[in-house]
Symmetry: C2
């Protein structure tokens, strides 16, 4: 564990809570074992977390680091990130205030706080921890294909884009497997996943040559002790900025099955004007790419239906099922039972 | 330029010269502008470079760093690398001897000498430079697709595996374009290419999220000032360890054409038992992957026919042409004129 799962967290999401760039904040609120005692965002101050995000959490939303201290946090968790993962200069005084107020800092940005001269110096003086969860372990190796040998049944979430529900889907499938009495493990491959699971490797922070090796290491470590291993996917094969990370994870993890995740309201990749291909095309892209190293099948579709009403969401699910011939759902709205059944059925299918 | 192109080089290839892991040594001997004054390999001592590698170079092969000093080198260039790119402990005393003898060190390994405490200390005392050519620049960005906008006609070499001739093919095509009076630029994306070109970025050493952005940066910097840009490819989409690097380079560089490189004697990927797919399948894999972001066509086949006699090599070229319907050659044995013609024809084809 990189940090105590009992530690009380204040989540920093200044100006961003519930908007496009606060998926770390929301993931931690929804899934981390730690108590979240406050969320910091002056622009949503006074509202409830549920009003802003739909997540039923009793944490108050406050305006600043100073205001969160009333709720006795142990650590400030940086809950927002921009593409590129750099530290915006306006966060700096708030982080320093938090350290001086006795908080450790949990950071998932590409910019490591422990390598920031000013912040590192303050943390040393005040004896607070700077936890850079995206820092990869040393001595990673080039992948050798070992992940294909694990005894666990492995499932990787893949996506039509970034931020479409890959981590959420993997977590929900892990929860369902455990609830049914299987031994199951969520393998975190990104900063938010690591904050939730307490361990993992942020694949997108690993040096190119060792990305697949990092994925392989995670799957091999988990894969001989569990019935199921659900690997958190990253990026998308159709995203020009991140496709290399996605392919390294696919070829390093060697999953037996994949769940394809898609956000219904998105039509273009990232911020680009590249159209997101249709679901059947995406299935063939992922299966084709997996097959270059080790065959894997997409066995279900996980839709993020944010912004739709229940009826529209239900229609989107039915349309995805009709278009692909596979079970579909929005795990947060309708549960992921049918996706878990699909993984289970594939596992029990005679070879 | 990372170093003077007039500097006199001694190439360190102890126990490896002309064998599987000395492609840096051979690339520098064949293409770098620098004079190579000696090659160090005790196991080939006394032979000529041409006897060992076929490269017509007058450099003597000597047994140790001490022996190379007679030829007045300015720098020791580390000319071999193992998968993973780490520094073997037995090279350490030789590197230290070189520094103490007044040589700078040119190093393309993943392990940076400037971060090695002992070596860095000796270099500081003796005021010698440690040139870690694989060190990426700071402040790289996530790719945004800009490379598709350059005015140059861009061509990326892609491969059936690592070490099959991608750099060599890109260099030969650049040479031909220049010989015909075009403005052309070789874009180096790996350590040996950088040692030859004097600049570039080792994409496989870049952090996952920024690999495609690094490729984009290189192509954008070269692509508005030249008729042709030939981008050195890396790895292979069918190599489980390196496929992520390959896809990031493809999606970041946004080439208009590709040349597919293959070593005739290789049947399995890397050291694995994964069979290398047939050339038509590889063409469809690369074109399909490119098309996810920006269409690009494979317009020719570059074969590495090492180990074959001329007649066998000619047959292999003819077989590749028959199998793919594209021009093929071994650039080192038969020249790359037909590949350059194919790139030129594609450039002049009406859209």
């Amino acid at each position: 564990m990189y940090y105590s799962q009992q530690a009380r967290l204040a989540i920093y999401a200044q100006g961003e809570f519930g908007k496009g760039h606060s998926k770390t904040a929301e993931g931690v609120l929804r899934y981390a074992p730690n108590p979240v005692v406050a969320v910091i965002d002056g622009s949503e101050c006074g509202k409830t977390v549920e009003q802003v995000t739909g997540i039923p959490s009793p944490a108050p939303i406050v305006g600043s680091v100073i205001d969160c201290l009333d709720y006795r946090p142990d650590a400030l968790l940086i809950g927002t990130a921009w593409t590129g993962g750099h530290l915006p200069p306006e966060w700096r005084p708030e982080i320093i205030t938090a350290i001086k107020s006795g908080l450790d800092i949990i950071n998932g940005l590409h910019d490591f706080l422990s390598e920031d001269e000013e912040i590192a110096q303050v943390a040393a003086s005040y004896r607070r921890k700077l936890l850079d969860v995206r820092r990869p372990p040393e001595h990673l190796a080039v992948a050798s294909g070992q992940a294909a040998q694990v005894t666990a049944f492995t499932c990787l979430t893949v996506g039509s884009d970034c931020s479409v529900g890959k981590m959420t889907t993997s977590l929900e499938l892990t929860r369902l497997a455990l609830a049914r009495g299987y031994s199951a493990r969520f393998v975190a491959t990104g900063q938010t996943g690591i904050m939730i699971a307490g361990e993992g490797i942020a694949i997108d922070r690993v040096i190119g040559d060792f990305m697949a090796g990092a994925a392989e290491k995670l799957v091999v470590e988990a894969g001989f002790a569990h019935d199921f291993v659900f690997v958190e996917g990253q990026g998308s094969l159709v995203h020009p900025g991140f496709s290399g990370v996605t392919l390294a994870l696919l070829h390093g993890a060697c999953p037996k099955t994949m769940i394809l995740c898609h956000k219904v309201s998105k039509t273009c990749v990232g911020e680009s004007s590249l159209p997101i291909p249709a679901l059947p095309k995406l299935i063939s892209v992922y299966q084709g790419s997996a097959n270059l190293v080790r065959p894997a099948s997409v066995v279900g579709i996980s839709l993020n239906t944010a912004g739709l009403n229940d009826q529209q969401a239900r229609q989107a699910v039915e349309a995805a099922e009709a278009e692909t011939g596979l079970p579909a759902t929005d795990p947060l709205r309708f549960g992921a039972d049918n996706l878990f059944e699909a993984v289970l059925a594939f596992r029990e299918k005679p070879a």
